[in-house]
């Protein structure tokens, strides 16, 4: 018994799908009463969620003081880390909301793959290349905080930023994701978390690797997990 035999047993003559019953009365009634609709564009939800979600980070960056060691850190490192967080944000948000060319829906598999890769890249960068300015950068102990307390503080900030993306994203995806909601939710949460991480990159004075990895990247992971949970039932309409 070969794969060809199995397939031969399953497949009927090509293109043969039988007859379907005529449309039901309530379906015909709905069609008879229909009006033209304005359809979605590929980048509409991305633009909407991106713009609305960016309001709070912009306000936070404007109102909160920048980290005290910013000028003492290597400029290339500041720019590279910011670019990495920014790319993680853009990639994750696009994966969650932009369908591939020729598709109607965003692909759940691509969303989870890209956002997972973005999280891994940011974590790797943080573990390998977190920069500190001796004497200027702070550790949790310098603020009389434990590592746990510093992590809770910063992860909460990341989640606050991510919450806006999750709420607006959920509204944008309300009728759009019949399948694969958790994967899309993961990417949406990761996008919000990456934006939180980007803001913290400029305002958080604690440059300790363990703090940045656990609180900033961990906050991103937590936001992704919350997004996955929130969208796990969103397709059941």
């Amino acid at each position: 018994m070969t794969a060809r035999d199995v397939e031969g047993g399953l497949l009927g003559p090509p293109g043969e799908f039988g007859q379907a019953p005529p449309p039901a009365a309530d379906l015909l009634k709905a069609v008879g009463a229909m009006k033209p609709v304005r359809t979605r564009t590929r980048f509409g939800a991305f633009a909407l969620v991106g713009l609305l979600g960016l309001v709070w980070p912009a306000v936070a960056l404007d109102r909160l003081p920048l980290r005290r060691d910013l000028s003492a850190l290597p400029a290339w490192w500041v720019v590279t880390a910011a670019a990495l967080w920014g790319v993680a944000f853009g990639l994750s948000l696009a994966a969650a909301l932009v369908p591939r060319r020729g598709d109607v829906l965003p692909a759940p598999g691509r969303a989870s793959r890209l956002s997972g890769a973005a999280m891994a890249a940011v974590l790797l960068f943080v573990l390998v290349a977190t920069a500190q300015a001796p004497g200027v950068s702070l550790r949790p102990e310098d603020l009389h905080w434990t590592l746990l307390r510093s992590c809770v503080h910063c992860a909460s900030f990341v989640l606050e930023i991510a919450a806006v993306f999750l709420v607006v994203g959920l509204l944008a995806l309300r009728r759009l994701v019949p399948m694969g909601g958790p994967r899309i939710g993961m990417a949406l949460g990761a996008a919000g978390g990456a934006m939180g991480g980007l803001v913290l990159h400029f305002i958080c004075p604690i440059a300790d690797t363990s703090h940045v990895a656990l609180a900033h990247v961990g906050g991103m992971g937590l936001a992704a997990a919350i997004g996955a949970l929130l969208l796990s039932g969103a397709g059941r309409r």
């Binding site: 035999d5 047993g9 799908f17 039988g18 449309p23 379906l27 609709v37 979605r40 009728r175 399948m179």
Partner: protein, 200 residues
């Protein structure tokens, strides 16, 4: 996109512009194959026909979420898939379904392609009727996710990327499930063959 997808996209665009004739064309174009898919998952002609109507009603309500120029076929399969899962979930909650006179339903059998089983009385045009019957029986015993992967990729001709989108998983998972389904089917049918050879 292939010619069929281009036609479906064109018809869908006209449907969104409010042309009722375009809805009927879309229905004629896609209802048979979606019905066949639903029959393959539900194994029940009447439930599949009901689910087909609900699917098209959902498509009608969600037509504003369509992206102009995109291929609507995988999108409609996705809505059908979700509607089917809802139906299966509802079935699990209602353990036994009876007719109004209190007897059990006798479900009309159907071939995977959507053709009623009794429409194939003359099986001479088919390559191997016994293989078909064996494969169909074995298919019913496959785990649900393997059956979905096999139906979408091998019977309905969807690409692995499309099948992944329809079922909400990754293309790799679809390939793996389809392969496992093949292996399981081969095992089931391989064991069935010697038994058939024995005199009754």
């Amino acid at each position: 996109m292939d010619a069929e997808a281009i036609e479906a996209a064109d018809v869908m665009a006209r449907y969104c512009r409010g042309e009722a004739a375009a809805f009927h064309r879309l229905y004629a174009l896609l209802a048979p194959r979606i019905l066949a898919y639903l029959k393959g998952l539900l194994g029940d002609q009447a439930a599949a026909e009901d689910t087909l109507q609900v699917t098209f009603l959902k498509v009608h309500e969600a037509r504003a979420t369509y992206v102009l120029g995109a291929n609507p076929i995988p999108w409609m399969y996705t809505i059908a898939h979700r509607t089917c899962l809802d139906e299966l979930r509802r079935r699990k909650r209602s353990r036994v379904r009876l007719t109004p006179d209190g007897t059990l339903h006798s479900e009309p059998a159907a071939h995977l392609t959507g053709v009623a089983a009794d429409a194939h009385q003359d099986q001479t045009d088919r390559p191997d009727a016994a293989a078909t019957a064996g494969a169909l029986a074995a298919l019913d015993r496959l785990p649900e996710n393997q059956r979905q992967a096999l139906l979408l990729t091998k019977v309905h001709g969807r690409s692995t990327a499309e099948a992944a989108m329809i079922t909400g998983t990754t293309p790799g998972a679809i390939k793996q499930r389809a392969h496992r389904a093949y292996v399981t089917l081969r095992d089931m049918l391989g064991k069935a063959e010697p038994a058939k050879a024995e005199p009754s």
